[in-house]
Amino acid sequence: IGLPTNSAQECQNLEVERQRRLERIKQKQSQLQELILQQIAFKNLVQRNRQSEQQANRPPPPNSIIHLPFIIVNTSKKTVIDCSISNDKFEYLFNFDSMFEIHDDIEVLKRMGMACGLEVGKCSQEDLKVARSLVPKALEPYVIEMAKGPISNVYITGGSSAN
């Protein structure tokens, strides 16, 4: 045990270190949550499409579907869009005269309900059951946590070493 001043200094260092790690963990938790959402949404989508293809006994016409990955740009119908395209279609330039939004395909899947409402923490018991069945065992505690609502604090799952 050193002099009191040293201990105080060391405590302060540890406190800073603790805060830094908490911040990083928070960030990594939301990264993991997003990956879990993507996994669940994609599996749900594939399942839905497989079922409806089986029911219809044929795949949907190619011009009625859009394969992942894609990006959506949406804007008001009143917006004037000026578009220039290179001959080989490798380059595009869009000019909008009003605001627009960009969304990725995962956002579309979420809006379609493919993430079981987990993205907003609004999840029925049935949804939760489906979601849990779509992830490996090690990720289940996170799914359960996400179903409870948006996470504001750092939580640490205990004893989930099982794979």
Binding site: R18, Q39, F42, N74
Partner: protein, 120 residues
Amino acid sequence: NIQWLGNRIDAALVSRHKELQREVCDLTEAEEQLDELISKCNLQLRMLTEDPQNKKLGYVRCQDLRQSFDSPDQLVMVIRAPPETQMQVSEPSEGYQVSLKSTRGPIDVFLCPDDSSGVC
């Protein structure tokens, strides 16, 4: 007396120090666990989306898109681009501009019509 008080502060500091050390240790472990889960999850997702069967079934219908952006006054544009395509969005103060640059193949852009034909 002073001596006694000093010892007490010492003791409090030492126990706080120990506590912090333990907490940082726990957090280190938690972070390592997270790192491992994230890399596993990334791998799972990649395998999932690259599976040929899943690739074939990984689509949305045009009607899904329309329902997702369910406002009748919205124009919905779909962009399908090869991997590593760069997308640049201008500062709003400099106008509303988007540029796309691909190196690996042509980019497809089309509008999602809002009629009920179910065709894009």
